[in-house]
Assembly symmetry: D2
Amino acid sequence: MTGMTLSLAVRVYYEDTDHGGVVYHANYLKFLERSRTEFLRTLGLELDVIDEKYGVLFALTEAQVKFRKPARFNDMLVVESSLVALSGARMSFRQHIYHQSRRELLIEAHVHLASIDRTGKVKRMPHSVARALRTHLLPEEHA
Amino acid sequence: MTGMTLSLAVRVYYEDTDHGGVVYHANYLKFLERSRTEFLRTLGLELDVIDEKYGVLFALTEAQVKFRKPARFNDMLVVESSLVALSGARMSFRQHIYHQSRRELLIEAHVHLASIDRTGKVKRMPHSVARALRTHLLPEEHA
Amino acid sequence: MTGMTLSLAVRVYYEDTDHGGVVYHANYLKFLERSRTEFLRTLGLELDVIDEKYGVLFALTEAQVKFRKPARFNDMLVVESSLVALSGARMSFRQHIYHQSRRELLIEAHVHLASIDRTGKVKRMPHSVARALRTHLLPEEHA
Amino acid sequence: MTGMTLSLAVRVYYEDTDHGGVVYHANYLKFLERSRTEFLRTLGLELDVIDEKYGVLFALTEAQVKFRKPARFNDMLVVESSLVALSGARMSFRQHIYHQSRRELLIEAHVHLASIDRTGKVKRMPHSVARALRTHLLPEEHA
């Protein structure tokens, strides 16, 4: 078991900020998802291909997010993702967002997803997908 | 020919604002679309029903937007829509966004849409849809 | 102690949906915030006035969200908010999103906020704000 | 006079798409702005520095956007920006969005901005900013 932490660099643009002068809280969830998408891509898993080939989508079932410090316009962030749990139709990610140059922790998140079909019913992941994920699982105690 | 102008009240929330303290420019396009959706609903046209029943969607082909004055957090806005042109697979709206209490014009827009199928190809509107729209057309010179 | 649960009706527009055919997960957080904003407004608390008058903003510190079932385009939702904890610079809301006509529970959330100044430092709420909130607190066991 | 066209690569994520299976129309305006921001950065112009140092912001005054073809989830796009007009307090960009691998033109835009102060009043650009911009102006007939 090797484990992997994917790091994605994200620039904060005007679209991400709010009237308080910082990143609007819901937009951190977009950054988290971009990083998870790139995590999967690194393993050769493209979400649109999995959808077309197997009729399988991944839906959030739960998110726990701690907002430690705010990011601001023009900041460069690093969004890290580790896969920390995996079963037939479930996976969980531990994720962190850092300010790139200051290396400050801004956001901590624990995100749970289920594999579903187009009608929303839980559906086991295809074997090839589960296999690719399993080799990059980083159990919680090491994350 | 009667014509109709639909007015939708929209509250500005934190999600709509940006770091400049005003509504983020792209978000006015969301307000414009909410108003067009309500225009159609008033005519008995529900976009999800038209999609399911006829396989027809409406896609923007062109938007001309003038940003006259900014809206701010907590402002109540009025978003007006008039249908000003209509043909077999095309329709155009003239739209205005006002500050509700100050009655100031904030945004002027001219938005053009095409009816398409799920693959993106232009497809004539169903007759019942075209008929409902025609009775509420407000030709440009009266808008 | 009276307690209060605020209910806000929210229509799902195209802007809220994603390629999976359902509401994009991060957008539920926007609906939750709209409802909290209206909760405060009902108590006479306007966020822009509190910002200008006292230099106090409210920032999310933590959100726990369970995504039970998806909402779809054109759905009417009800977003409920109850204030379940309150201290000098902290408040917590218990929130639920229901499908209006089916009365199905879609989203459960527990959202924690801190009062801060414009630099992001924790700052006690003004007395008048705390007093207004206290009368509408609904302790967790009743929520 | 040299002129410059800035090209920014943009990945389409779930957050950008809508229930029609394509990028939600207002989100192309976000991509256009990211590219303009990078255009300015390439010239050494950082919007947050200009705001802090000179009290100058740039606000959209008008946008004309043609939506030729849709982008879809997971597509890689190229967003090109050329500065085609410049005066004391105004600048205009000609922008195009292409599908990266298919080199198809998806979006054409003409975007006009004004330099303003924090109250929203038009305010001439600082000399250093105007000078940096002028060297990269690409008059319309060459764009």
